[in-house]
Symmetry: C2
Subunit: 323 residues, 2 copies
């Protein structure tokens, strides 16, 4: 009963955090039937403002997220947080870390925090966070915040699925701009220069301004037309600049609603998950259709007598003959 | 002729850098037939020592790689470098950056540097770097070095495909360990504390030592049994500590050869690429088998009348009926 995904979905939608947590865990583990629970929640999802927050390690994102959550709560909004820690080295470590970190909100029923340590799954991070944000969305949280710890392709993918993405930079990280240039500059709807009391903060703002002027006026990377990404200075430790950040997040949401960008983003999310799920299931079907041939081919691949491309050719050729 | 992949493969194998560069670009662009060129090179590959270097932005990896290349050249070895910049925001920017950066080696025919800005492809980074390293390997470079700029899941995937992985840390990056904990601690065969002249270097060494003792003695993440990852302090700017790094890389390679770990890694590489290629081709086949149904389903998905999971169900159901 505890693991019945439809029952969990129903309870989650009624606001039961334990049920929501269990369903997310089942989805993360690709538990049989968990997708049915998720699908039952889809009609209730679509109302939350999805925020992505990313930036290099050491930028103070944890504290920043903590402060933004407090500010959102002050404004009467409920908040779900997905902290994405791709392949945390010590299982549980990240989750414990987040719990300790976010203890400010531990007793607040209007805040729900989940850490995800999805690892080893090809493209699994984007899909897993889509699914987790959908659960939180359907649970009725006004804002669902996705925090990623890296600056790689996966992190770009994750935050691209959000409505509004904030990129965090700080002064003094070696070559300042290099620290944030890798991939995430283009997806930012808002730039936060955190630790703005450190020397060099204005230099970072200047560099960002210059780089933003070089950006294509409207790329297809999900940014809304006619939106100039603001740069906001913060000192998260002292809770400075946080209301300005939340004002800007709200302004971007309003801009998306007015420009039709919200629907555009929703379509991208659906397409992305469709292709991800299709790839996985189509491959599984091919392997299941010819289990013996699959095993033979994998054995030859491991032994090195077949290269990966030839192995796929052989399997697909065989599989279509057997259909 | 210039774009005939088999001709390019032949020239690349003979050491022609332009041909190698064009073949890598074709592979990156998923050019029709490029895989045939790659497959022609597979028998010649397998001799290079594949090195992965990763770590957070601002750790000085660029200079470090530059120095390691110089030291390898001093020891008479040829070097291919793949700099992975996932989704560089300004196309060409990364490539120009690397060329400027690595100009030390610009006139040395024993060094070949390629930047890859693979973006938007699900799981594409690991496959693209597998393919690029295979080309460089087959071209005869003694060492093929893969440098990644991030610390996300994709970067872990990329360096896991290497034989030997060096993780770079520096002192003073906020919470030092947090900056490197996300996923890459577990894949390191060697840890480099760069900028070791900065205050706090010994503290980072101590923290790393403590965390390495917490590591599972032999995980399945590709590390070789019986190898204790050394921690080496460097000052890349002043070329200090570099011979020790190269000695350690060599020692790890020797350890892998003695323990059978080299073959184990090669099998993992083949399996990884096999599953990646299978997913992509199986999905493409499903879509190609029912183009009209596929378009209808995608239209419903975009309109929101079909969720992604139902869309895949419908497509796979239809496709198997049409087979």
């Amino acid at each position: 009963m505890r693991r019945d995904p439809l029952a969990l979905a129903e309870k989650a939608q009624a606001g039961n955090q334990g049920a929501g947590a269990r369903l997310i865990r089942m989805l993360e583990e690709r538990d049989e039937g968990a997708v049915e629970g998720l699908r039952a929640l889809l009609p209730a999802a679509g109302n939350a403002h999805l925020l992505g927050i990313t930036g290099p390690p050491g930028a103070g994102k944890s504290t920043l997220v903590d402060r933004i959550v407090s500010e959102l709560r002050r404004r009467g909004r409920t908040v779900g947080v997905i902290a994405v820690d791709p392949s945390s080295p010590f299982s549980g470590g990240a989750i414990l870390g987040d719990r300790v970190r976010m203890q400010t909100h531990a007793t607040d029923p209007g805040v729900f925090i989940r850490s995800m340590a999805t690892r080893g799954q090809l493209g699994g991070l984007a899909r897993a966070s889509f699914e987790a944000t959908t659960v939180l969305d359907a649970m009725g949280y006004d804002v669902v915040l996705i925090e990623t710890v890296g600056v790689g392709q996966d992190e770009v993918d994750v935050v691209e699925l959000a409505h509004t993405t904030a990129v965090v930079a700080i002064p003094g990280m070696g070559d300042d701009i290099q620290a944030i240039k890798a991939g995430i500059l283009e997806v930012g709807d808002l730039f936060i220069v955190n630790k703005a009391d450190l020397p060099g903060a204005d230099r970072v703002v200047k560099q960002l301004t210059a780089m933003l002027h070089l950006r294509e006026p409207s790329s297809d990377r999900g940014r809304a037309r006619g939106w100039e990404p603001p740069i906001v200075k913060t000192e998260a430790e002292r809770a400075r600049g946080i209301p300005e950040v939340v004002d800007t997040l709200d302004a971007h949401r309003a801009h998306l609603e007015a420009s039709g960008g919200l629907e555009h983003k929703a379509v991208r999310r659906r397409e992305r998950v469709f292709h991800d799920v299709l790839r996985e299931r189509a491959a599984a079907r091919v392997l299941a259709a010819a289990p013996n041939a699959g095993e033979e081919i994998l054995a030859e691949l491991r032994a090195g007598s077949l290269d990966p491309y030839a192995a796929v050719d052989r399997l697909l050729g065989r599989s279509s003959r057997e259909d």
